[in-house]
Amino acid sequence: MHLFGPVLMDLTAAARQGDRIVLLSDYLRRAEAKDAGIALSILAGERPLARPSPQRLRHFALTGLSEHDLDRAKAAGADLLETVCLLFPARQGVNGAPLSALPMLFRPSSAITNDDLADLFAVLPVAERAALGEILSGRAGRLMSVPDIWCALALAFDAEPARVIRMWFAGEAPYPDLLTGLRAGRHPSDLVERLLPRQFHPVVECEATDIRSNTGDWFFAEETVGHRVQIVTGPPPMIVDVDGRRLTDKFPEIVNDVKNCAAALLEGMIVPAEDSNDPGKSLSKRLSARNCTAALIRQHPVLFQAHDLWQHQENDLSSEVFADRKSALENWLAIHRPGRIALWPCRRGVPPVRAGLLVRDGNQSDTICRTISPRQTAHGVLLYVKTERGRAITGLTLGVKEGDNLVPIGEVKPVFDDTEHRQLLNWARQNAREKFGPVISVPAEYVVEFSFRSILTAPRRKAGIQLVGMTFSKLCNPSALNLVPDVSMLIELRD
């Protein structure tokens, strides 16, 4: 953080795209491998940690600050998050921590707690907390576009070829062409448009030794439809998810399969066993059912994808390197052959996706520790703005081209700072074409970059497809209208 903090603030201030690329590539050259990976993840908009609500943040702040100080400082022009970051008392002797020492930043699928915040503030001096505010608020994820990040990576990687970052693409790596173009002074945007698949989102892998058991401190969530759990094979068998909930009763068939297996602690995820149009719905039915009946099990069968083996016959394997744990897991599966537990990846016909970034020390072998399927990125035109009581924007309906027309493709929940929110809300009010209840129809001027997980066929929708897991990335300027894809391009992506 002591390296990334100043760089993040410089990136925030820099006005030119080229400057940001230079600043980031310089940081990547200097940073530790793990830090670089996490920084890229943050800049690419990966923000698994939920933003703390103002009420919670204020409640937390008042544990260490007087109400007078907090209110007066906020009135000075700082927003609440920035105020807390600047004001919350620093612990004596704190010298800062590397980004990789802040696992609580990347806790998936859970809202930030007061304990998380207290831990963060305990290890960061005041000087580095401005950057923390940018990260927590989600603004850091909107500083650089994905192409800019690729360019910075290319420049950094060229500086030290034996260094830590490798770029993988699903197809051929166009990296040398990119580098040649950059050296020749070509504008990065042109090169990226032509050479790099824009839909690839940088994702980060890290050494499995960094993923801790029992604490919930997983760095990265799998981008697939599933529910992350740990299975203790017994006796008695037990299934626990990341929030500590016991799910043993929800999945009796898996419990039955591991009943006679040797004692082990498996880490992985429960996934639907059969492909369907909406696998998430299938899984949620299993998770939310009060009684897990035989009919429910038959209609919505599940599998357990094993990723890791943390304990085996009372031996704690967490200190072993991942390769050893992986082979131990393979041996365990070969001996016990439980019917509903498979080594990742278990879904038939789906090859492991190898797109993303691998961040590791140069001397390590090339074994893949963990691969995360990438989210895809696209642009959409803002068609409708949904407001709550006319005061807060709660949803943006986006559209894509279909010939000369625009068709709605889905809704995203926006992540704005106060200024952007005010600006967009005012614009929507002033330019409302039609208003019906909380929904305002607006002219097709604003472009939003969003990401999604997968594409499904949806004949009842106007576009004929449904994007799964749509997430807001950033607002773009109107000049990005030409980046809005045609619906046929998205259908091709699905195929």
Binding site: P6, M9, D10, T12, A13, A14, A15, R16, D19, V22, L23, D26, H68, D69, R72, A73, A76, G77, A78, D79, E82, T83, L86, L87, V126, A127, A130, G133
Partner: protein, 338 residues
């Protein structure tokens, strides 16, 4: 005690008036006798008849105000005591800019200090702040809110230095106040190993020469007007805020801009400045320095002259010290620089 001091150190429309010495400290109107703490224009006003200040402050005032700096100028070195009947007056360093001083007044066993502007951090271009215990301490509160905490200035200048290495083909245009901040920036740049010339806006040339005359080593400082466009690539140019529009197009167009000010602490303020590199460097005490100073001087009463008084007075009251707001003193706050 407070009533006793108030008997001879009074608030009048022209400023703080010391009755036994018959002089004002940093008066905002023309006065017959004035003691000036430092050369910034919100403290050193033109038109006084007799002016007492350090020699450095007089030199600066002569450049900035010319003949209007005062009809009769009297210099007083730091620590040199001037006795006016029962009143003793002497100046001690305030650590703000070259020649800046706190005015210490002692009368009938009671001591009052008017600190002017001050800071506690290190500054290669001026003498460091000196703590003198007193009964009444008159302090500024430019950054008198807890949210203002300045980082290490050397670390901030190191960011500028890093930027110079990363963008060797770009001129770095640093907005900094012409008196004090600019010279401190040059001194800090030398401390982080910048040996090249520093180009300064025409309005700063004379001030820089004054600093060098008084023994402050600024290295090679060259007027911007003498530099050719090609020469400025990868160099540092210092210019006062607001003069950017008057600079040559070639300089502004490709320059990487920076702004050195304590106000850059807050993201919104930094965003308003619209520069590539906001540098949090200030010649005013931040909140920890202000509170540390109040603790150090151990005054029974604190008078806050200008800035953000509320929090500082609140801080005083929490410690059993009487805080007094003097915001009705007509000091042009808008001209206060960070």
């Amino acid at each position: 005690m407070k009533n006793i001091v108030q008997n001879w150190l009074q608030l009048r429309p022209a400023g703080l008036y010391c009755a036994p010495g018959d002089f004002y400290v940093d008066p905002v109107r023309k006065a017959d006798r004035a003691v000036i703490t430092h050369g910034h224009s919100d403290h050193a006003r033109p038109g006084h008849t007799h002016v007492l200040a350090t020699a450095e402050t007089h030199a600066v005032n002569r450049i900035r105000l010319g003949k209007r700096a005062g009809r009769h100028l009297q210099s007083l070195a730091y620590g040199e005591v001037l006795t006016l009947d029962d009143l003793k007056v002497w100046l001690v360093p305030a650590g703000h800019i070259l020649g800046s001083a706190q005015v210490v007044m002692e009368y009938q066993g009671h001591r009052a200090i008017v600190s002017g502007d001050y800071k506690r951090g290190s500054d290669p271009t001026c003498a460091p702040f000196e703590v003198v215990q007193c009964d009444v301490f008159v302090t500024e509160a430019t950054f008198g809110r807890p949210v203002y905490r300045h980082p290490d200035p050397l670390a901030e200048v190191a960011r500028l230095r890093r930027s110079l290495e990363l963008f060797p083909d770009r001129c770095h245009l640093v907005n900094a106040y012409g008196l004090g901040k600019s010279q401190r920036m040059i001194g800090l740049l030398r401390q982080v190993g910048w040996a090249g010339p520093v180009f300064v806006h025409g309005a700063m040339v004379d001030i820089c020469q004054t600093y060098q005359y008084f023994g402050v080593d600024l290295g090679e400082v060259r007027p911007l007007s003498e530099a050719s466009p090609d020469e400025l690539a990868g160099q540092v140019v210092l210019a006062p805020p607001g003069t950017v529009q008057g600079l040559p197009d070639h300089l502004v167009r490709d320059a990487r801009t920076a702004f050195a000010s304590g106000w850059m602490r807050l993201r919104k303020r930094a965003a308003t400045a619209g520069v590539d590199l906001p540098l949090i460097i200030s010649d005013h005490a931040d909140w920890p320095e202000l509170t540390r100073t109040l603790d150090d001087v151990a005054a029974e009463e604190v008078w806050v002259t200008h800035g953000e008084e509320t929090d500082l007075i609140n801080y005083c009251s929490r410690r059993g010290v009487r805080g007094r707001r003097l915001s009705d003193l007509v000091i042009d706050d808008a001209r206060k620089v960070g």
